[in-house]
Symmetry: C2
Subunit: 259 residues, 2 copies
DNA sequence: CGCTGTCTTGAATGAATTCAACCCATGTGG
DNA sequence: CCACATGGGTTGAATTCATTCAAGACAGCG
């Protein structure tokens, strides 16, 4: 449960938006201009590498913001008694740490689930984006609102659903996000979380997650092999989860004119 | 549990920022210029009144955005089995409905807890703000991030804390927000929620909230009289809740220059 | 090859729920 | 002004879901 702290490698290779996943969340809201894509590409500083289980930044630290390049990261909060709650699983292309931007100290801890590459983003860079690219600013605002919806669903799930339903919702959420990264994503994925970590996502305990997984598998809803999850019955899983699939507004007429 | 739907009165009195609480969340982040205050004052359209228990907008409806003028509102999501989870208690000055802005349909239901006055805000008005007032845009972004932190804390509370601790955290959260509205707020407030509604906030059931309230009272942490709550031991309540008091960055150096 | 972290399964415990009865304040209509 | 209906709150007892404790299995890695 204790994670070693600090960066591991520091490649000074410059951040290139061409291969970077950074705009993948943005383009869900609008077709970006070259200038906008370029501006997004220059947001981050040098790319840094962290290995699995390393803490990228701890709650209470300076509230830095990062772009996640590759790998998975969890954002979690903890209590004095040692219990933790994962509040967000970050996938490549995610802005991380933004919720704490307006505070004097970070509220959440960012921990690498896999080997990851990230780049730090200074707030001045975001502020410059807000001055020069009003449409990108608006999209960043919408992305923050989207994250609120995700948190609202998580809260609903943890507050009002049983273990099996929470687990279904979580697996589907991850699956849907992977599909967003790659439209051809199959009904299967590697979930690089231990049962303990999944329990911290769902507000349950590892033993119960284990039993719940077994039950889902036994019901024929999923299949497990090592860390790989196959979704065998998407419809039933969605029914269990209890959430509709939401559609984003793309290129809304009211968005500011692009630069 | 069923709420009558629709607006009640429609005063066509124009929205005036002078008496409106609308900037109270904004000024927590920066001292605003006259031009900015004026722009915020012109955000909303006509003021509309809803009476207690009326549904302002239902999940699935068009994703409108509102400014809450006076009164309390809850934002909640519901499941097919009828269970509900309150995801946000809105106080005067809150922007409501923004999380659904980027979607084709509203994700949450807004229900008046008291008689309320609200004004609708068209997305074009927000987009115009983003074009013309980059600093206000940045602050709206930070406000959305602040809401994420609040949701993260709620998720941590519901996911990892027992009933008593959740209730303490909730009462403190409301108290802290009232203090933000009025720095001289006493250690006491009217909570216009039924036990059922509080249960929907905490992810518990009304009977258990009743028992938990009694226990907190018996422990001398609070005193109840009708809907009024007195906080008798703030320190112990905060210890129970398990969250630090977070400090906002005011007039951060990196904010865009004001217009 | 054996350590360690992770996962599984069983049994006992506990927190919260469910069901139910009752109380109380409020408000309404006869 | 009283009778009565209603919604909200309280309390008790039984049940259920999840936790805790514990032991064992398994895989991966040095």
């Amino acid at each position: 449960m204790l994670f070693v702290r600090g960066p591991v490698t520091t490649n000074v290779r410059p951040f290139s938006h061409r291969h970077a996943p950074s705009p993948n969340r943005f383009v869900a809201f609008a077709d970006l201009t070259e200038a906008e894509l370029n501006a997004l590409g220059h947001l981050g500083a040098d790319v840094v590498t962290y290995s699995r289980d390393k803490v990228i930044r701890h709650e209470g630290d300076q509230p830095d913001v990062f772009m996640l390049h590759s790998g998975w990261v969890v954002s979690s909060g903890s209590f004095d008694d040692g219990s933790r709650q994962v509040v967000k699983v970050h996938l490549p292309g995610d802005l991380m740490g933004a919720p704490s931007m307006g505070y004097t100290a970070a509220a959440d801890t960012l921990t690498a689930l896999t080997d990851v590459t990230i780049s730090r983003i200074v707030p001045e860079a975001i502020a410059r984006l807000f001055r020069e690219f009003p449409r990108l600013a608006m999209i960043m605002f919408l992305l923050a609102q989207e994250e609120r919806i995700i948190l609202m669903e998580r809260l609903m799930s943890v507050g009002r659903r049983r273990g099996a339903q929470r687990l279904s919702a979580f697996l589907l959420h991850i699956y849907d996000r992977l599909c967003l990264l790659d439209p051809d994503w199959p009904l299967s994925f590697e979930l690089p979380l231990t049962l303990d970590q999944i329990a911290d996502v769902l507000g349950l305990h590892a033993v119960h997650v284990s039993r719940t997984f077994s039950r889902l598998e036994q019901q024929g809803l999923i299949h497990r092999e090592h860390k790989r999850i196959d979704l065998l019955n998407l419809d039933e899983l969605r029914k269990q989860a209890g959430f509709p699939q939401r559609r984003l507004l793309r290129n809304a007429a009211w968005l500011p004119q692009p630069i």
